[in-house]
């Protein structure tokens, strides 16, 4: 245990030292450095930075755990969070880069010639980004308290300080180079344990292939078939076919995540850092290479972690693990409260089943259709977030691998937090202050303002991480719903419809957001306060069975529909705006992203 702690300190603090060194080397000297890293980042570098920017604590820690327990249903996250890059590469990034401005609200202002539109965009951006940051800050606190056994608040404080140093000093420039380093740390931390585990279970070290291979125990059974058998024998749904609320819901969920991804401002901003339209298209490709590396490993991590967990609890059929003989990792996670056991039948052994009642029941095996007897479930809590973090310990991997996972989780959380902080601070210092309130701000003062705003944003994020508001659990749905129903349609119509006018786009944005928020609130509670949901969070009340998390795509449809109706009534955009859109669509030199 002491050895593990030492390794973890070494891994965490050597990566932090690396981030500081990069921050000092890549200090920002101008607003162009601060907002778009001077516009001289190569597509390969940008792709890697987008990978780190995009893959947050949710991708690194939570996603494989979600897949482990949802099985096939978890595919919505895999397709949704990667398919959005196809949309970015073809529908948004190249044209927005051609236009050449610093921020997303600034693009909206130019295209829709309206300060109101700019303010609406700033508001959407801040709400979406702040809700996202809370999750990153919690991830930092949890990683510190679990792996280094320091107080949650102190861990959070250290994380805030590290981000403050390199984000405030370096702006986009410092963040970009730090994100490249963080990507490398993150991908090693994710794939090395996966390679070990895949090799242990199947003899094939490549996780993507291991998942489709036979087990190495000499049985000749495919890993996925074995997993299906093990879980259905305990009354769970079959792993490889378990649905998530029906095909229509999965369809809507996937679309919502795709267009939400394409509409997240902190990701779009990264495309302003490359020198040309061609480089913007290429960055999206490289970004997906680096993201895909983690996302194609994740299903293997999920399935193998589930199988290892099942095998630990029931090594051979009917011979369950005796609680008193449970392994060390089990005890460690029990201490955190994320894993909980209750000996319901008093036999001193652990049963992990689908049966949530206190009595033994008979049910139907989802795969064979035969009747099975299922004992009450005694693993009363298995938090899905522990799967990635506990995975190396469950598989008995060496301590340095566990230490690496801790450093990787921190890299994932810090890199995303930095990107979000920059999106927030630039929208305030550049869009609200320079753009609307104090247009005669000098460049030097704007840079200073950017740094001050970012410091305040870090403090606010830290405060929210320490005292997460009641609605924090539901915020991911809100952030994606917001981006999908407001920002993505506004940007896409701005490029693909020359005639789209400011009035119509604002009407579309407001109704898209409005209906999405209404739907989320009516099922989840107003601002997620329990008891205020007037329709109840239950399947039968859902519109066409679509869950609130999946509603962003309906919001986007409403946005498109309203905008086109209003456009017919109020008339098209003025000629000089249509001219600007035509220019945006053409290739050729684009000036380095500039200001004015």
């Amino acid at each position: 245990m002491e050895e593990l702690k030492l390794y973890t300190y070494i891994a965490v603090f050597s990566t932090f030292a690396l981030y500081f060194a990069i921050a000092w080397w890549a200090r920002a000297g101008s607003t162009s450095d601060f907002y778009v890293a001077g516009g001289g980042i190569t597509p390969l570098q940008n792709g890697m930075a987008i990978g780190a920017d995009w893959m947050s604590a949710a991708s690194f820690i939570s996603m494989a755990g979600l897949i482990a327990f949802l099985g096939y249903g978890g595919s919505v996250f895999l397709m949704g969070w990667t398919g959005g890059y196809v949309l970015l590469a073809m529908l948004l990034a190249p044209y927005m880069r051609k236009h050449g401005k610093f921020t997303v609200p600034e693009f909206i202002f130019d295209r829709y010639y309206s300060k109101t539109a700019r303010v609406v965009a700033v508001a959407c951006l801040i709400i979406a980004s702040l809700t996202y940051i809370i999750g990153q800050m919690k991830g930092v606190g949890v990683a510190f308290s679990r792996f280094l056994e320091v107080d949650y608040g102190l861990g959070l404080g250290i994380g805030m300080f590290v981000v403050w140093v390199y984000a405030v000093l370096g702006g986009m420039k410092g963040i970009t180079y730090t994100q490249i380093a963080q990507y490398v740390v993150m991908i090693f931390a994710y794939t090395i344990p996966a390679i070990f585990i895949s090799f242990q279970l199947t003899g094939n070290p490549i996780p993507q292939l291991g998942l489709g291979s036979t087990l190495a125990d000499g049985s000749g059974i495919y890993l996925l078939d074995k997993l299906d058998m093990v879980v259905t024998d305990l009354g769970f749904k079959e792993y490889t076919t378990a649905n998530l609320g029906g095909t229509l819901n999965m369809f809507a969920y996937t679309i919502s995540l795709m267009i939400g991804t394409a509409g997240l401002p902190h990701v779009i901003m990264r495309f302003f850092t490359v020198p040309s339209v061609q480089a913007a298209r290429q960055s999206a490709g490289y970004a997906l290479v680096f993201i895909g590396l983690l996302y194609t490993v994740a299903p293997a991590v999920g399935a193998m972690a589930r199988l290892n967990l099942m095998n630990t609890i029931e090594p051979t059929a009917g011979e369950n693990l005796v609680y008193a003989e449970r392994p060390q990792w089990f005890k460690d996670w029990e201490k955190t409260g994320l894993l909980k056991f209750e000996d319901k039948n008093g036999d001193g052994k652990i049963q992990y089943t689908s049966n949530t009642t206190d009595q033994t029941i008979t049910t139907i095996n989802a795969m064979t259709g035969k009747e099975i007897v299922v004992l009450p479930n005694e693993m009363v809590k298995v938090d899905r977030d522990i799967m990635v973090l506990a995975n190396p310990a469950i598989a008995n991997l060496p301590n340095w691998v566990i230490a690496l996972v801790a450093a990787g989780g921190l890299a994932a959380a810090l890199s995303t937090a930095a990107g979000l902080l920059l999106a927030i601070s630039s929208s305030i210092s550049h869009d609200l202050m320079k753009g609307i309130l104090t247009p005669d701000l000098s460049e030097k003062n704007e840079l200073l303002a950017g740094r001050i705003v970012m410091t305040i944003a870090i403090l606010v994020a830290g405060y929210l991480g320490l005292n997460p508001p009641g609605f924090a659990a539901g915020t991911v749905a809100l952030a994606f719903g917001l981006a999908a129903s407001s920002i993505f349609p506004a940007l896409m119509m701005g490029i693909f419809s020359k005639k789209m006018s400011g009035t119509a786009a604002i009407a579309g944005m407001c109704s898209g957001i409005g209906i999405t928020m209404l739907y989320v609130f009516q099922h989840k509670g107003i601002m997620f306060i329990p008891g205020t949901s007037f329709l109840g969070d239950m399947g039968p009340n859902w519109f066409l069975g679509i869950s609130p998390n999946a509603f962003g795509c309906i919001g986007a449809l409403v946005n498109f529909g309203v905008a086109f109706v209003v456009l017919q009534i109020t008339g098209p955009a003025p000629a000089h705006i249509q001219q600007m859109v035509e220019n945006m669509r053409l290739p050729g030199d684009c000036a380095a992203a500039h200001d004015h």
Binding site: I67, Y72, G74, S75, L78, M79, T82, G83, Y85, V86, A89, M90, L91, P94, Q208, L209, L211, G212, S213, T214, Y222, L223, L224, D225, T240, T241, T247, M250, F251, T254, V277, Q278, R281, Q282, A284, G285, L288, V289, G292, Y295, T296, P299, E582, R585, L586, P587, G588
Partner: protein, 83 residues
């Protein structure tokens, strides 16, 4: 001779092809047709399950790079036409 209109309509045509494939590999093979495809096996993977958790991502990658390649060619043609 390339002009603004043909450049843009060619871009729209390439995007339409890409997005049709994007739709088929993810929503088509991974969701709508998942059950019939699951009858076919790819090693230990059921094919529909493979598309949903692996194949769609590989296809997205090919699409983005192919789009970038086609557009670079088109950009070159447009630049030459306007010299």
């Amino acid at each position: 001779m390339e002009n603004k209109e043909t450049y843009w309509s060619e871009n729209i045509r390439i995007i339409s092809i890409c997005l049709a494939i994007w739709f088929v590999v993810s929503f088509g093979f991974g969701l709508i047709l998942v059950e019939p495809l699951n009858a076919i096996h790819l090693g230990g993977y059921k094919l529909g399950f493979w598309f949903a958790q692996q194949g769609a991502i590989y296809a997205f990658l090919v699409l983005i790079f192919w789009y970038g390649h086609k557009m670079n060619e088109l950009d070159k043609k447009y630049d030459e036409g306007n010299k």
